[in-house]
Homo-oligomer: 176 residues x 2
Amino acid sequence: MEEELKRLIRNIPDFPKQGVQFKDITPLLQNGPAFKRAIDAMAAHYSSSGANVIVSIEARGFIIGAALAYSMGKSFVPLRKPGKLPFTSVRAELEKEYGKDAIEMHIDALKAGDKVLIIDDVLATGGTLNAAIKLVETAGASVEGIGVLTELSFLHGRANIKGKQGDYKIFSLLKY
Amino acid sequence: MEEELKRLIRNIPDFPKQGVQFKDITPLLQNGPAFKRAIDAMAAHYSSSGANVIVSIEARGFIIGAALAYSMGKSFVPLRKPGKLPFTSVRAELEKEYGKDAIEMHIDALKAGDKVLIIDDVLATGGTLNAAIKLVETAGASVEGIGVLTELSFLHGRANIKGKQGDYKIFSLLKY
């Protein structure tokens, strides 16, 4: 299945900046059965995880995370760019491949003891995911797993993933 | 069901600007069974629509649209803020409640003859949805329906919805 889905990922040279090969997942999303197959494969991977919440990162992460939360009947918590969430929020700074940024989470989004899957579209350098881990753990919740549709293994982001727990289960459906 | 789901929508006064009452859907999303019930109700409404594509608008629209596309086995097409889509895109300007803006769609996202449901989180003044209609119709596709989780009826956005087709079926799950 992996090769079949990979045929629906498009290479975009020099986006968002010179020298970067961007993996465009929109042709996969535009293929209804392929989109469903990808989400079902992620849901199957997590079927015995015990997680009760899916946390996802704006904006492409919402596409994968919301479909997965719906599929698994889990809670969905959006992490957003600064100033976008309407209620009192906590913030985590992050280093991205393309510069500095931050993400925020509603202060009441998670309860202590919540078991969380952090879901995003891509694992690149790991900066965004580390900020998400920080927000989840600061709320007293635990990270049951980190799941992405695509992993850019050549950026070695997996080795950069870190937080209080020390060790994280990382699952990527499509590896590059 | 409508009243039960409405209890999970939070009023945020003066967001994003003074005098505006923002309807915060995150408590509903954070309730797994409620989120599932909301998406299932929208899927049931469109079960005989004949649409083959769900088009949704960044970023909250992705949460509703992606879950619905997954649920119905349809294609998912994201409309994004300018500069965010990696491939060649077409743009539509829009007037929002809070100022001017624009959204873009990949030039190959839709085929002539595609039957589209435009799905967003909210119908406010209708500006964003009109821009989405324009992008869909410019691609030669038809708008089978417009569906939102919440409708702010007091802004009369429904009366502002317009495009080539002239008449649109608008469905909102929760009305204010």
